[in-house]
């Protein structure tokens, strides 16, 4: 079990790096979907005491929403907004990937200083969870397209989720489902907002929104 958990954790981190290095919007969305499925899988094996109905429902929700519903919504808005399929980052791809590695280093430094690591099965889980959070934040600020900000937000949420199931464990079921529902609504609303931005300005370049202020 621990081997699988370790493998999934490493894959989660590699998918973060892929997200930082990929140049195509569709590929980024598919990587987010992969992360969602991976998190559902991690949910199933993360607790030592074994499987429960609660974990099973959470896992199914995570796989269903993040693995299939969100990518469907995002790919549809890419199609409808007719955007260029390039990511157009402010920070170059190679720099971003090396930055991702630095984020892991910082996360390892932080996780050595927080007491939550005791409950983790593998010493790699907390650092990867933290660096997923950092990657999400980085994606939000370093990419030009509004769609990328949704993707960054989803990665950010994945990081928090990973941290939650690893470190805290006993979060009430309702709160976890509530968070998933919030994310769902957020993606839905941002999809609509993107369509509006697109209709109004013929692009979804969030950077140019700053020129609106008087």
């Amino acid at each position: 079990m621990q081997q699988w958990l370790e493998l999934a954790t490493v894959l989660l981190f590699l998918s973060n790096l892929a997200m930082l290095g990929l140049s195509e919007l569709g590929a980024c969305v598919r990587t987010v979907a992969f992360q969602g499925i991976l998190l559902g899988f991690i949910t199933l094996i993360v607790r030592q005491e074994g499987l429960s109905v609660r974990l099973l429902i959470l896992s199914v929700m995570s796989i269903g929403l993040k693995g299939f519903v969100f990518p469907f919504l995002l790919l549809r808005s890419i199609r409808e907004a007719g955007v260029r399929r390039e990511v157009e980052p402010f920070v170059g791809y190679v720099t971003s990937v090396v930055g991702g590695l630095l984020m892991l280093a910082v996360s390892m430094w932080i996780s050595a200083r927080i007491p939550a690591t005791a409950t983790a099965m593998s010493s790699f889980q907390i650092p990867v969870a933290l660096s997923t959070i950092f990657t999400g934040l980085f994606l939000v600020v370093s990419r030009r397209k509004a769609l990328n900000q949704v993707i960054g937000y989803l990665v950010f949420e994945s990081g928090i989720y990973m941290f939650g199931i690893t470190a805290v464990g006993e979060i009430p079921f309702l709160i976890e489902l509530g968070v998933l529902l919030d994310v769902f609504v957020a993606v839905f609303v941002m999809g609509i907002a993107m369509n509006h931005i697109n209709r109004e300005f013929d692009h979804i370049d969030a950077d140019q929104l700053s020129s609106l202020k008087g």
Partner: protein, 303 residues
């Protein structure tokens, strides 16, 4: 040094051009052609050895020394490369650095021989080669460092002989990442497809081929042979990592590793057939990616 190591080294000298033949055959099958004979590289070598070399009047001894030094360096690299459980001819703590720098010396002399011709065209290839190898070398050394940490040894022979399936079961993710990064380095260093197209004759896209355009006759034979030996050296290391058959029976281990080499050549052929060359701007991303993966493997092993 023992008899097995000598047999292994002799087999490397004998069989390495075959790898290129296997790769070419796989590519031909994918393209629906019959393809050249499996032994074509041997025919090419014997043809080139019978020819005379032509030297430009503008080139100096550096140009003549290039292929010879290249072959000598790769022979040194071969002498410290283990083959599965068979130790290398020479092994001592720290020989993994010697391996990296023997290959580095080979590249250095190919590059300055190319620059010595004074052709702007070859200078362009040399510049690209140096740029990419500067990115591939850290990845290569990081892979070796991760392996050295894993097996608690600084000698390649010990590292490869301590690899086994138990280690894969225990540290699978880290070893898999090392293997992936090593594969990317192998493809880049041997001028194979996603980085360089060995069959291209379009000037703007060539890297390795353009540097050796002016060499002829035995000099070119040396270069061709060194290239196949280099592929063998790096392939033997990769197979030592991903196919650690260590039954202790030499009659079982040796053919297993040899078959692994052929399988690797098949894999390279498949990669070359299904992938297009990356844009030059994309190549550094691939190599930095390989380096980053090697760093993660190192972190996983060190923690």
């Amino acid at each position: 040094m023992n008899a097995q190591s000598i047999v292994y080294s002799a087999s490397a000298l004998l069989f390495s051009p075959l790898l290129l033949g296997v790769i070419n055959r796989v590519k031909a099958i994918f393209a629906g052609r019959t393809g050249q004979p499996l032994l074509q590289t041997y025919y090419d070598l014997s043809k080139l050895f019978r020819k005379g070399a032509v030297y430009s009047t503008t080139s100096s001894w550096v140009f003549r020394a290039g292929p010879t030094v290249g072959l000598a360096s790769v022979l040194v690299a071969l002498a410290i490369t283990p083959f599965g459980r068979v130790p290398a001819l020479l092994n001592f703590p720290g020989d993994l650095l010697l391996l990296a720098y023997a290959l580095g010396l080979m590249r250095f002399f190919t590059v300055i021989a190319a620059l010595d011709t004074g052709s702007a065209f070859e200078g362009m290839g040399a510049s690209r080669e140096v740029q990419f190898s500067a990115l591939a070398e850290p990845a290569f050394l990081l892979c070796l460092a991760a392996l050295a940490c894993k097996t608690q040894s600084l000698s390649l022979s010990t590292i490869i002989s301590r690899m086994n399936f138990g280690l894969w079961a225990k540290d699978g993710p880290a070893l898999a990442m090392i293997a992936v990064a090593f594969m990317a380095v192998l493809l880049a260093e041997n001028a194979r497809m996603p980085v360089d197209d060995p069959t291209t004759h379009l000037e703007l896209t060539m890297i390795h081929e353009v540097m050796v355009l002016d060499h002829s006759g035995p000099d070119f034979a040396f270069i061709l042979y060194s290239a196949s030996l280099k592929l063998w050296v790096m392939g033997a290391l990769l197979i030592g990592i991903i196919l650690p058959v260590r039954t202790g029976n030499i009659l079982l281990d040796f053919p297993a590793t040899l078959l692994g080499m052929i399988a690797l050549a098949l894999l390279i052929g498949v990669i070359e057939s299904v992938m297009a060359r990356l844009r030059l701007l994309r190549v550094p991303q691939l190599l930095v990616g390989a380096g980053v993966i090697a760093v993660i493997a190192l972190i996983l092993i060190l923690r």
